[in-house]
């Protein structure tokens, strides 16, 4: 049986007196597009930062593909690609050179994936241009190309639709669908409910650092009519006990 791609248990992150993520236990099955919903400041990005080891949890455990992140950090992250908040690059380097920088850290296999990744994200012809000249959509695609260098089992996209025009959103949806069709898991954090509804098979809702709902998109919508109605219902009710 394939282990869940993400399994957190009692995950908590405190910044001084403020608790950004509280006792969050979440299981994400492998091979699907999984939405992670929450208002701005709900704790989504903090959760993701813990998933990719950018910040240490105050309590709790994280397993990725059945391996403990704290015990096998390097092996676990070798197969994870992530865009956290907006993708950032060395603006004075070209798109290709930016990929070379990350590939150098990932190893020789990753270096061989640079050209296919650029090709797949439609950036082959602009690969030798400085990133400073790229549009927001191109930077987003370059961010995904950077994720692909890992040949990832898990792709984490934090607010990937931000700043994209309609054609950029369509391209991104197609890319996500393509990645899932290859058996990868795409974990999409967003506050854009309609996008999650269109892109993902299942989702979790987080509010004030707590997990308030998780399930397939169909189950989450239930009798609420839309994901938006369900989300608003969950997050306003959850606010009562926060």
């Amino acid at each position: 049986m394939t282990p869940p791609i993400i399994e957190t248990l009692g995950l908590t992150k405190r910044f001084g007196a403020r608790t950004a993520v509280r006792d969050l236990s979440l299981t994400v099955p492998a091979g699907c597009a999984f939405g992670f919903l929450g208002h701005n400041g709900a704790g989504k990005t903090t959760f993701i930062r813990m998933l990719v080891s950018l910040t240490r949890p105050s309590a709790g455990t994280i397993n990725v593909a059945g391996q403990s992140l704290s015990a096998h950090r390097e092996q676990v992250l070798a197969h994870v690609g992530a865009i956290i908040e907006e993708p950032r690059f060395h603006r004075h380097l070209t798109g290709r050179e930016n990929l070379q920088v990350i590939a150098a850290a990932r190893g020789s296999q990753a270096r061989r994936r640079i050209e296919p990744a650029l090709e797949r994200c439609g950036l082959s012809t602009r690969g030798n241009d400085r990133v400073g000249t790229y549009s927001q959509g191109m930077r987003q695609r370059l961010g995904i190309a950077r994720c692909l260098l890992a040949d990832p089992k898990l792709v984490i996209l934090d607010e990937p639709m931000n700043g994209l025009d309609p054609s950029g959103i369509l391209e991104l949806r197609a890319l996500i669908a393509g990645l899932v069709a290859e058996g990868r898991t795409v974990f999409v954090s967003s506050h854009l409910l309609t996008e999650i509804e269109k892109t993902c098979h299942a989702a979790a809702v987080i509010h004030q650092g707590r997990l308030v709902a998780v399930g397939s998109i169909t189950d989450l919508i239930g009798d609420a009519g839309s994901l938006e109605n369900r989300f608003l219902g969950l997050t306003s009710r959850a606010g009562d006990y926060a």
Binding site: R49, V52, S53, L54, T55, R73, E74, Q75, V76, L77, A78, V80, A82, I84, P87, R88, F89, H90, R91, H92, L93, E97, N98, Q100, V101, I102, A103, A104, A105, R106, G107, S108, R111, R146, A150
Partner: protein, 265 residues
């Protein structure tokens, strides 16, 4: 740390630095550019007499203490802050690479570029020393190597110091002001503060001056230069000088590595 897998990371860090036009142009002007200006100026003043070994001494001070050192510090400061300033540090951490490795590869990258520039600047001094020694004896190859080794030592230490401080503070301006300010203004004052006695030996440039192959300024054996470039040379034991220099490279590097390991990416 696997050497084979680290080499591409060093190459990537060199690429980042090399392609940073503002930093590299300034560093080239400070090193090779200033060497050319300095020796052209001396040449004009002395009608072709650079007094051989004195040109080497001035060239070494120019590269190891003054403008070449500023170039090394500039490159080190850029190497220490580039990933954090661009926001790419978190993506590097997310690859699973240890943060210590991410820090350590900055040092050889900065040293490689800084050494290229300061030794190129010193090559200008060597050319001037041979071309314009006039009535003075031409410098020996051994003397050239001694000075070149000293320039290399100074460059390595100052580039490492800058990488360490930049990684610790996360700020290029703070690093530049702190390190260059310390090396020029503070060191100049401390050098003259004779009441401090052997405490002055703890200052980096004074310890480097302790290993300087040439004479102390004011007692120079080759009075061919009209500009007295202070080499901060004071009598001090070689072992003490080596230990102080080592400390100035290692302690900031440890602090920079600690900060890189502990900061939120």
């Amino acid at each position: 740390m696997n050497q084979a897998s680290v080499r591409p990371m060093i190459a990537a860090d060199i690429l980042k630095l090399r392609r940073h036009r503002a930093t590299m142009t300034t560093a080239v002007l400070l090193s090779v550019g200033m060497a050319l200006v300095y020796f052209a100026f001396i040449e004009a003043r002395h009608h072709g007499n650079l007094a051989g070994p004195q040109a080497l001494s001035d060239g070494a001070a120019l590269m190891g203490i003054y403008f070449g050192a500023f170039a090394a510090i500039l490159i080190g400061a850029e190497a220490g802050t580039a990933d954090l300033a661009s926001g790419v540090f978190r993506d590097l951490v997310a690859t699973g690479r240890s943060r210590t490795t991410l820090f350590l590869v900055r040092i050889p990258a900065a040293i490689a570029l800084a050494l290229t520039l300061t030794l190129s600047g010193f090559a200008v001094a060597v050319a001037a020393a041979y071309a314009g020694h006039g009535a003075a004896p031409a410098p020996t190859a051994g003397l050239v190597l001694e000075y070149a080794a000293w320039v290399a030592l100074s460059t390595v230490v100052q580039a490492t110091l800058a990488v360490g401080i930049a990684s610790l503070t996360g700020s290029r301006p703070v690093t530049l002001v702190a390190v260059i300010g310390w090396n020029t203004i503070a060191t100049g004052i401390l050098y003259l503060a004779s009441f401090l006695g052997p405490l002055r030996d703890l200052v980096l440039l004074i310890a480097l001056g302790g290993l300087f192959p040439g004479q102390q300024v004011g007692t120079r054996a080759h009075p061919g230069s009209s500009i007295a470039l202070n080499n901060f040379k004071l009598p001090m034991p070689v072992t003490a000088a080596v230990l102080v220099i080592l400390a100035w490279a290692v302690i900031p590097a440890i602090l920079g590595a600690w900060r890189t390991r502990t900061q939120d990416a």
